[in-house]
């Protein structure tokens, strides 16, 4: 008994000592976004050897989990002696919050997060909070495969990447429907409004708190604004006030015809997927069309699932990985980011039986053999062709716009 008692006491005395220490030792200076200390890639690889990378990412898709853990993790181990630990989370904000919390607690060089699958508002929070490790792109050999001239890559939701994150995947919003059930899906916002009225209860969208719900609302907003062009750039309250009431009116008019008469909205895109799978609603959409094929393969969606994009275009974005400022394994994280950009990793990811996701690298910068391989990749019948998608791509908005739209929706539509 006494032995345990003393252990407990040690833990506790330590805890309280540190608590006191923490209370007395006041604000530590905010950490700078330091530049990499490595002169060249070889140094990075050498430093990365034997390291471990804690990669925080959404963990709800077994195929993505498998790709990351088995393919990426296996290759990193084999080629660079790096151990990849995939840490499944429900929401990227949890990882951002973990870094924030560590900063708040003064954990500045021994953080728990080495890599985050990130973009948009979360990236903005981290960048503006000086929570990121930046300025290492020139060290990454595969950085040359990225077309930084492409504004949808150089800007993450309207915010300059500034070498603070590395692209690894691209996604574009698309709709799905069951061709056996729904003959003529509505291919524009006005058509959708009309369709919803004719088919009450058959359509809904997740609440604005969901990433995908939010992007659907933005499509309505684009429609109300007559296209995204006037919305690009920094947030403009006057413009917002001019457009928003139209958007809310459209959504509120639609409300009585929605699933459950719009009295509630699905909490997450997964709930919408469930509703679609069980024929509670007739339309589904996702920011990542690859998910349609994956769900068909997993038996979640019927095999007659087909996809389409809105005539006026749909919003596309790039997914990145970012390294927190307090990562203790920055070199290994950089090697991982570099490997994610490699042809091997991007090609594997593009396979329909793996993920079917669009590459983040510029195919034109690859060798001819590699280009051919990409060209020959089969397409899943349920997933819309990448060429159709890219032809209809619309840009994302600045996160300030997004948060204003999300808040406005909560206040004007949800209640």
């Amino acid at each position: 008994m006494s032995r345990y008692q003393s252990t407990e006491l040690t833990i506790w005395s330590r805890l309280f000592l540190l608590a006191t220490f923490f209370a007395v030792l006041l604000p530590l200076s905010a950490h700078s976004t330091e530049r990499a200390n490595y002169k060249n890639w070889d140094e990075v690889i050498a430093a990365a050897k034997g390291g471990t990378v804690n990669w925080f990412m959404w963990g709800g898709a077994d195929n993505i989990n498998q790709y990351v853990s088995e393919y990426i993790g296996g290759a990193l181990k084999q080629r660079y002696d790096i151990t990849l630990k995939r840490i499944g989370i429900n929401d990227t904000a949890e990882a951002v919050n973990a870094v924030l919390g560590e900063k708040q607690a003064g954990v500045n060089d021994d953080g728990s997060v080495d890599l985050i699958w990130i973009n948009g508002g979360n990236f903005r929070t981290m960048k503006q909070g000086n929570l990121l490790f930046c300025g290492y792109h020139d060290l990454l050999p595969n950085n040359q495969l990225v077309n930084w001239q492409d504004q949808s890559i150089a800007n993450d939701f309207g915010l300059a990447v500034d070498e603070c994150e590395v692209p690894w995947n691209r996604a574009q919003f698309a709709f799905a429907y069951d061709s056996a059930r729904t003959k003529n899906p509505p291919e524009s916002i006005p058509a959708l409004i009309e369709w919803a009225q004719k088919n009450p209860g058959e359509f809904t969208y997740p609440a604005a708190t969901d990433f995908n719900g939010s992007v659907f609302i933005r499509h309505v907003f684009y429609h109300a604004a007559g296209g995204p062009s006037s919305l690009l750039g920094d947030f403009d309250q006057q413009k917002f006030d001019a457009i928003a009431p139209k958007a809310w009116a459209i959504l509120n008019d639609m409300k009585p015809y929605l699933w459950r008469e719009g009295k509630t909205y699905p909490n997450s895109i997964a709930n919408l997927a469930q509703l679609f799978a069980n024929r509670e609603v007739a339309l589904y959409f996702d920011y990542d069309p690859a998910i349609f094929g994956i769900n068909v393969e997993n038996g979640i969606f019927p095999e007659t699932t087909r996809s389409f994009v809105l005539e006026d275009g749909t919003i596309g974005n790039t997914n990145y990985v970012a390294i927190p400022y307090n990562s203790p394994n920055k070199a290994a994280a950089m090697v991982t980011a570099n490997f994610l950009l490699s042809f091997d990793a991007q090609f594997e990811k593009a396979k329909t039986n793996v993920w079917g996701a669009a590459p983040a690298i510029d195919i034109d910068r690859l060798t001819e053999d590699q280009r051919n391989l990409f060209a020959k990749l089969p397409r899943h019948p349920s997933v819309i062709a990448p060429s159709v998608l890219s032809a209809k791509a619309l840009p994302e908005l600045h996160p300030d716009w997004i948060s204003a739209i999300e808040k406005g929706w909560q206040y004007n539509v949800a209640k």
Binding site: F16, N97, A207, N278, E280
Partner: protein, 285 residues
């Protein structure tokens, strides 16, 4: 004197842990909720967090919803548990099997139960499918909304499912201790079966029932995962709201999260004292 030291020695490890972790956590939470975050350069105490949440409609709705869920679940579970215990204390063929089945979900984590309830009661769940099979409904939306619904029926169903055996077992044990003698005495003194239950068994069970109900109420008031999984999106249960605020990327939301935690704790503390007060009024053998 020797004995006093012995008691101190026996108790101190547990007290160090509970006082340190539990009280420590509460005090730190209180400090944080007052906006004191020295590492972020905030060294002043203020009531902004409380002011903010008390000014938001969302918080009140969440609070009411959470209270309603906890109260309804506790009352329904208690009533069912009393009925179950009254049956299970009798002896009958197959009682041990039934007893085992009755206890089985004590070991099943809440989360698993929540998923099971989801699969049973959602608008495309098992019961909706049965209703379709019997041509009661023609499409899922005609099935009553029991999950993600404003009345939180799914959440309440899950809690009732999980807590009936818990309260039931506590009551059974109490009944075992009480025995049937008091009831026999009441019967011969002229109490009918119902009077006997109402005036004798129920008051005797009351302290145990109260304790069990209080544990259940507090648990359901503070649980996160069930409303997170089965609840509608607005308003959400208080712990969900607190967790969302805590993991908000805006650090300003943290004091608010901690303040909500404090409000949850405060309600629990009120309940403890209420319990202690009520329990003192009843004789505990």
């Amino acid at each position: 004197m020797l004995e006093r030291w012995k008691i101190v020695l026996l108790l101190s490890p547990a007290l160090v842990i509970i006082a340190g972790l539990f009280l420590g956590g509460l005090i730190l939470g209180l400090i944080g909720s007052l906006g004191y975050m020295p590492l972020l350069g905030r060294e002043e105490f203020n009531l902004n967090a409380y002011r903010n949440i008390l000014a938001s409609e969302r918080f009140y709705l969440s609070f009411l919803l959470t209270f309603y869920i906890a109260f309804t679940s506790t009352v329904i579970a208690s009533l069912l548990a009393i009925g179950a215990a009254l049956i299970l204390r009798r002896s009958f063929i197959g009682r041990s099997v039934i007893n085992f089945l009755f206890q089985i979900n004590l070991t099943v984590p809440h989360l698993v139960g929540a998923v099971g309830i989801l699969y049973l009661f959602s608008q495309s769940g098992f019961f909706a499918r049965l209703a379709y099979e019997f041509e009661i409904i023609t499409k899922p939306s005609e099935f009553p909304a029991l999950i993600y619904d404003p009345l939180a029926i799914g959440i309440i169903l899950q809690y009732v499912w999980k807590e009936v055996p818990f309260i039931g077992l506590i009551l059974l044990a109490n009944m075992q201790t009480i025995g049937r003698d008091y009831e026999a005495a009441a019967r011969v003194l002229g109490a009918s079966r119902w009077q006997c239950f109402r005036h004798v068994l129920l008051p005797l069970l009351f302290p145990g029932l109260l304790a069990a109900a209080m544990i259940v109420f507090a648990f359901t008031f503070g649980a996160y995962e069930i409303p997170a999984l089965l609840g509608q999106n607005y308003p959400s249960a208080l712990p969900v709201l607190a967790y969302q605020a805590f993991t908000d990327v805006d650090l300003n939301a943290r004091p608010e999260a901690l303040a909500m935690g404090m409000i949850i704790a405060l309600l629990s503390v009120i309940m403890i004292f209420g319990y202690a007060h009520l329990a003192r009024r009843y004789v505990r053998s």
